[in-house]
Subunit: 196 residues, 2 copies
Amino acid sequence: MSEFEPLIKHIRKRVDMTDDELAELTSYFNVKKIKKKQFIIQPDFVAKHRNYVVEGAFRAYVIDGKGEEHTIQFAIEDWWISDYNSFIHQQPATMFVVALDNSIVLQLTYEQEQKLKAAGHKYETFFRIMAERSAAYQQRRIISNLTQSAEERYTDFLEKYPLVAQRVPQYALASYLGMTTEFLSKIRNNKVRRKS
Amino acid sequence: MSEFEPLIKHIRKRVDMTDDELAELTSYFNVKKIKKKQFIIQPDFVAKHRNYVVEGAFRAYVIDGKGEEHTIQFAIEDWWISDYNSFIHQQPATMFVVALDNSIVLQLTYEQEQKLKAAGHKYETFFRIMAERSAAYQQRRIISNLTQSAEERYTDFLEKYPLVAQRVPQYALASYLGMTTEFLSKIRNNKVRRKS
DNA sequence: TTTTAACGATGAACCAGGTTAGGAAAAACG
DNA sequence: CGTTTTTCCTAACCTGGTTCATCGTTAAAA
């Protein structure tokens, strides 16, 4: 079984494509092995690829003026990751994207993606759906950050993404949820003062 | 000059279309006048349209468990607004979208949008670009919420969207920026304690 | 196997921003 | 118009979450 099987299933769930179309689509991607702690995107370099995770786990984060890390996105099997803003506008990245484990990704370069989208309406549709889902996902996160307490954000994350929560270090999860590691530790150990 | 002129310019900036294509595209939209304080989207009803603002101003917000409003998005001239998640999945909305002034919008129903996307590759491309921009915009907002203080978020907003800041009530802006009106008032009057 | 570094837990002092409560002024409306 | 409602401001007090410093534990490297 090829490394492309998971991607093929992934796409089939979203758009209706023939075997030929899928074969053409996957031919635009390259398989790449990434070792744990290796960076696939760094600030000031343009994000060259969109990455589909076949195996492993990644974290995208920014560093603010005080030197603090803030996690923007995690990606495990069957997820995509990149510095999206850098990739779609082909401008220097602001994020780091690092492997949390030894991983295998399928990479699509910006140029290949342009060709693919031009090659057929259905391919364009697929990327439109990806972008729409990404926008909807991020809107849910904005709402969660605006409306929920630190504890609620944590318990919600556990419910929605139990697999991710298990695999990423706690400081990374804390920085994703917008709190300090110390506070997350207190929540996890029920040391947060509750009303009543 | 028709109400469609602004939309035509808007689209021309993003994709290359012939006059015929633009004429076909705009034929899928309907002009609608909305009075101040009128709701165009409400929770539990499916968001039927994507709305392009020709004239006026809108606010999209959610109400949390404590009854507090949180502004998700503003839209003035040349912006789009809807409950995006409700619209693309055609599921009940969670947001209110209300007119802040007497307004004119161009509405595209979900069904018309599906037909339009099916009618040509270029139309699909346009919606793909819209979704990508929306995703990139929202990611910037997430980063801003994670990395900046309340005061920084406010001054940044003023710089980036001076026209919006002028036109929306302060409580709406505060709830967009993730702070209370009272605190925003302190910031505006330089009553926030500063270090040194 | 030992050493070192990374990770997580804990507690006390502290602060950014929230709450509560009031009142003034500007819009909206009949 | 005058009246009602909405919006904005001020100020004292409060709290969820941070900061800083310390220590045990686990995992990687040598």
